[in-house]
Amino acid sequence: MKESNEKKSDVAENGEKEILSGVRRLRILGIFNIRIFMLVLFAFFIVSLIIPLRPSYSESEKRELAKFPSFSFSALFSGDYFDGINEWYADTFPFREALTGLNARVSALFGKTDVQIHGTVEQGDEIPDLPPESEDSSSSEQTEHQGTESGESSENQSSESSSPSSSEESQSQPGSGDTAADNSTQTLGALLINGDTAYEYYNFVRSTADSYIAAINNAGKLLEGKATVYDIIVPNSMGICAPESITSGINTSDQKKAINYMYSGMNSVKTVPVFDTLKAHRNEYIYFRTDHHWTALGAYYAYCELMKAKGVSPSTLDSFTVREFPGYLGSFYTSSGKLPQFAANPDTVYAYQPKETNSIDVLYENGVWKYGQEIISDMTTASQGSKYLTFIKGDRPLSIIKNPALTDGSACVVIKESYGNAFVPFLVSHYQNVYIIDYRYFSKVDKRGLVQFCTDTGAKDVIFINNVSATRSKSLVTSIAGLVR
């Protein structure tokens, strides 16, 4: 405002009253400027002090928001206590969803292109043309993993505790908090967004793929003569659905080649090729556009391939009751910053409910069994981000489906992460008992290894079903390896 004073003196000399009044006008404007700004600033100040307005859970991000830190002297002196307050204050800011939505809308104004990329694209390892080395090296790999098992599991626990899961709560209110734990162990890679569809990048990690091969081989060997082990590696939508015009020359590893590499190293189990089948059905609704999972229809085609490998004819789709839950906006929607083009065109979750039974017994992470839950839950009124949780109550350490129509004692064990959820309902008609293990959480509530588990349950089929992204995650593969004993 210095120059306005200079002007003032200039002007005064000229004696131009008009401009003098202009200066006064500007000064009054300045006062209004101060009042309006301070009004807004203090409105934020006061609203932010109203603690009940602060959310504790983010629906769209599927996570518990930061909690007010608990006081300790060590946290005080290290600065963590104050950092915790900052984080709590910002993370649980009143009207959080409205503000992040505003931000997404404004950003969309500036970044309006059909194709976008979110996250940092990583370079994959080169996928070898030859199958991996034989027995010796893979078994030595195995022992190495068993050695590190305890260390890894404590790491998992610590990451768990930072995002407490809320099993009890989810009981009354399906969905809330359920995938929080999932997010802590499996983070999404970079995304490619083409219009209203997103695809997740996949980068092949050779050492982790080799550990995965070793773990599955080990399962085959340990269960030799006791059970048949099947392995299904499910590609993601980048490998199946992304248009070639986009995928040619992009930095994502060839999923078919990666899966074939891993399959070629498995000599003690039955591998189930699903890539080509899914590719043949790529124009059907087999993957979500706004979420990283496949749909139940995609899972059905994989199920048909498994039955082929078993030599059993699969059930047809019309032997299931179709349930439909529109309005789904999944993980891609959230992690891409809630792009409006997704919100305008959400996914629909279709679920195929077995006619034999819709009942499932579920062991939650707190060690409590809940009996007679639903295989396919009604998600009509569930929040838009949670509808994939219709399948088998989401990711639980252990669940059992008992088929009342069979009494032959047949049983299978499915070892899966969340891709398996949409797949499991198709198995119901083939076994008297289907045991479902989510390897990420099982060891927290049940100390048995896979061999003991099969002995106890009399399972003759062990089905590993893992999505291709899981096979590049060291912590997930380590969890799988830890279960195989």
């Binding site: 000064r27 404007l29 807004v40 002196f77 976008q116 996250g119």
Partner: protein, 480 residues
């Protein structure tokens, strides 16, 4: 605490203003500012606040004794030397201790164990502020401050304590003891603060995303750089160049704005540096308070250009090596400083005259020089620097562009253009032109008032919206 945290903007600052305005006397106002400043600092450094207070105490006490000595006497010189030595020793230990010892270990194998000393936030900034006080009192350029709390307020003032501007004591001592904020001041301060906040939350943070995506994220795998396409690297470094300017100048804008709100006028720190036409000019317009510190408290005392050509070049070398080192305890920063030494020495010797001939060429020269400088600044790993430089000229065997780089550039092209405009004085010039017309034109006044009343608030709300989903966004210059 950082200025771009919601806690600061919507809790700390309003509370500070509220209490500040509710007390009347200057003494009470200063007490309020001191308490808030100490809390602000302790919020980030609960333990090192003792260092800040201790260093200020030493300098306060020694300067008091200097002030009673005869000017230029041996005793005064000794006392000043003691203060400067104490300041530099502590800065040396806390900022360069680990660096010095690890280099010593590489050379001599000693010591075996290198302690990991945490860098106290802002130590580089407040140490320099203290140095200006001690030296100016010794030189008689500034009056001595008898009150320790007032000197502590000068050093710890939360507006500028941890990331500049490096305000000299003599420039604000009068306002520390007697000040009045006019409505013009407050209004200008608010606008400046809102612009700074938006520059950080909307421009710097977005350019950071672009740079991270096209180069690598902090702590990312540097081997990725070798696989980046030519386009990716060029635009990535461009985005980083904008990011660092927007980030750092935003901090100064917010500091200066908050100062004005309470009637303190801090020294300007940036003057559209990318508009310069020589490296010397760039450094007179970039982080101006650091450049002038080195000029007035090092270069000129060393003899400047008055002791012959060879001595001048040596002086420049010392100044620029130290300017580089000031930015961080790492060789790449020294390299970065010496990189500018080469240009500035050349400009002083012969290049300067040549540059005056053509405005366009000299501007391009400056932009290219600074642009490549940022590569040295960004990466503290020599192999990363090598691989970026090679990749920019297609020597890593990568394509000119690939799908990811094309897509990222296209997605952010509008934002990049806006960001480039933000580096120029275009918007300021429009607003000043408009303000001038508003003096005698009703129509211009209407437009100007709408802008005045709406823009700061809109910037505040948009910045808040951008910060809610993105709680972690420290200022780059916090590392220094």
């Amino acid at each position: 605490m950082v200025f771009s945290s919601l806690f600061f903007i919507f809790f700390f600052l309003p509370l500070n203003l509220l209490i500040y305005l509710s007390v009347k006397s200057i003494k009470a106002k200063n007490r309020v500012m001191l308490i808030f400043s100490l809390i602000f600092y302790a919020w980030g450094e609960p333990v090192y606040i003792l260092l800040l207070v201790g260093m200020t105490f030493i300098d306060w006490w020694l300067s008091l004794r200097v002030s009673v000595c005869e000017k230029g006497s041996k005793k005064a010189r000794l006392l000043l030397a003691g203060a400067v030595f104490a300041d530099l020793l502590l800065l040396g230990i806390f900022k360069y201790g680990t660096f010095t010892l690890s280099n010593l270990k590489i050379l001599t194998g000693f010591p075996q164990h290198i302690p990991d000393i945490m860098l106290p936030i802002g130590i580089s900034f407040y140490t320099f502020q203290l140095l200006t006080y001690c030296v100016d009192v010794y030189r008689g350029a500034a009056p001595v401050q008898k009150s320790f709390p007032t000197l502590l307020l000068y050093v710890s003032m939360f507006h500028q304590c941890i990331a500049g501007p490096i305000v000299r004591y003599k420039d604000i001592n009068a306002e520390l003891e007697n000040r009045r904020a006019t409505s013009d001041d407050i209004s200008a301060g608010i606008n400046r603060f809102a612009v700074g906040l938006a520059k950080k939350a909307l421009i710097a943070n977005t350019c950071a995303v672009i740079a991270d995506r096209l180069l690598i994220a902090d702590g990312g795998d540097i081997s990725l750089l070798a696989s980046r396409s030519v386009l990716s690297l060029w635009v990535g470094v461009l985005a980083f160049s904008i990011q660092i300017y927007a980030d750092f100048s935003a901090y100064s804008d917010m500091a200066i704005g908050m100062g004005k709100m309470i009637g303190i006028h801090y020294t300007e720190n940036f003057d559209y540096p990318y508009m310069s036409r020589s490296v010397s000019e760039f450094w007179r317009r970039w982080h101006m308070t650091l450049g002038s510190f080195f000029r007035d408290y090092l270069y000129i005392p060393l003899g400047g250009s008055r002791k012959g050509l060879a001595r001048m070049v040596l002086n420049l070398f010392i100044v620029w090596a130290l300017t580089g080192l000031w930015h961080g305890a790492s060789w790449n920063f020294v390299l970065w400083g010496l990189y500018f030494f080469v240009f500035i020495a050349a400009e002083k010797l012969f290049l300067g005259r040549a540059l005056e001939k053509n405005r366009v060429i000299s501007h391009i020269y400056l932009l290219v020089a600074v642009y490549f400088g940022w590569i040295l600044f960004k990466f503290d790993d020599m192999s990363a620097i090598g691989s970026v430089l090679k990749g920019m000229f297609g020597l890593n065997g990568n394509p000119l562009s690939d799908f990811e780089s094309r897509t990222t550039v296209m997605s952010y092209i509008v934002m990049l253009i806006i960001s480039v405009i933000a580096c120029t004085p275009v918007i300021r010039n429009i607003s000043e032109r408009l303000k001038y017309s508003a003096l005698n034109s009703g129509k211009a006044f209407a437009v100007y008032s709408a802008a005045q009343l709406v823009i700061p608030v809109v910037l505040l709300v948009l910045s808040a919206a951008a910060l809610v989903g993105n709680s972690y966004n420290p200022f780059l210059y916090f590392r220094f």
